[in-house]
């Protein structure tokens, strides 16, 4: 059992190390490490306050600009919903004390576009945890759905404001 724990811990450390260090200009907190798998550290076995679900919303698939103020709607197997909003770095998060869903968990995004409400639905549910960045890595690939983004339609994107907030200290 000790050996298993040691292996698991080493594997976890390798995963965390692969993410790289904190950016010096961004303090640890709600604006840090955009686009990374939050629950790697923010979990019961991690070294940061536990989160139930967390991720980052971008304006478009290039993941260059964050999308701020987007409603992230979670709906669970019992049809209980919880809404949180992305901050200026695009990050959103839910604490376990705020919502106790029964998995699977479906996610939708909602935002306003020229006074109209636009909704983007995630196609498949989450079954294990709410770590969006684990599957939605910055680029799409054979085991990544790419970043969470609002639109890839140029006409629509021209109406969506860019958030160039980097979370850095002034």
């Amino acid at each position: 059992m000790l050996l298993l724990a040691a292996c698991t811990d080493q594997q976890w450390q390798e995963h965390v190390a692969a993410l790289g260090p904190e950016q010096p200009s961004i303090p640890m907190g709600p604006l840090h490490r955009s686009g990374q798998p939050c629950l790697l550290c923010h979990s019961p076995t991690g070294n940061a306050p536990e989160l139930l679900a967390a991720g980052t919303v971008y304006r478009d698939p290039s993941a260059t600009f964050a999308a701020a103020g987007v409603a992230v709607i979670l709906i669970d197997a019992r049809r209980q919903t919880y809404v949180t909003y992305s901050n200026c770095a695009g990050n959103f998060f839910v604490f376990p004390s705020e919502y106790q869903p029964q998995f699977p968990l479906w996610v939708s995004l909602r935002y306003q576009l020229s006074g109209q409400r636009v909704q983007v639905d995630m196609e498949s549910p989450m079954h294990r945890d709410g770590d969006c960045g684990a599957c939605h890595r910055p680029t799409a690939g054979p085991s990544s759905a790419g970043p969470v983004f609002l639109s890839d339609d140029p006409a629509r994107l021209s109406m969506i404001p860019r958030s160039d907030c980097t979370g850095g200290q002034q």
């Binding site: 709607i73 049809r79 498949s124 079954h127 294990r128 684990a134 599957c135 690939g141 054979p142 085991s143």
Partner: protein
Amino acid sequence: MNRSARALSLACSLAISCTPLNDELDGLLTPDAQSFPVVADALQPSCGTLDCHGQIGRNLRLFGGRGLRLDPQHTSAEGATTEAEYAASYRSLTALEPEALDSLLRAGGEVEILSLLRKARGREQHRGGVQLLPGDPLDRCLLSWLAGAVHQASCLRVAQKPRPVLHLP
């Protein structure tokens, strides 16, 4: 006879015969490969997502158009499941417990001899929780396939199940 065995027995009795539709590999019987795609499509939303068995490190490794891709040039964001991906998922599923699978297909009996069923039904530790209950559409889909006469309607019902509707202003 418990419910599981009854379900398999019923599925067998609906088919003309169970064994002719099965394939044989290295002397061990495996379920029909040709009818597997509809089963794989049913498994995809419940089991094959990227956070679950859509991962290369899993013993049960499921590939799919919106999950783990076989071709490194493909992405999980687009494209339909390919023939090669169906074949890879079939190999993964049937290679989990080949002797137990062979025994079930030859002699029938308790389907929960397969850890696939035990885990999906929550009878055995499963991080993904209970994904099917005896008699529900995914259960019927899997059991009918194992019995050699896949119940397409059950599989399609799972694969095309709509997501929950949001009732928010």
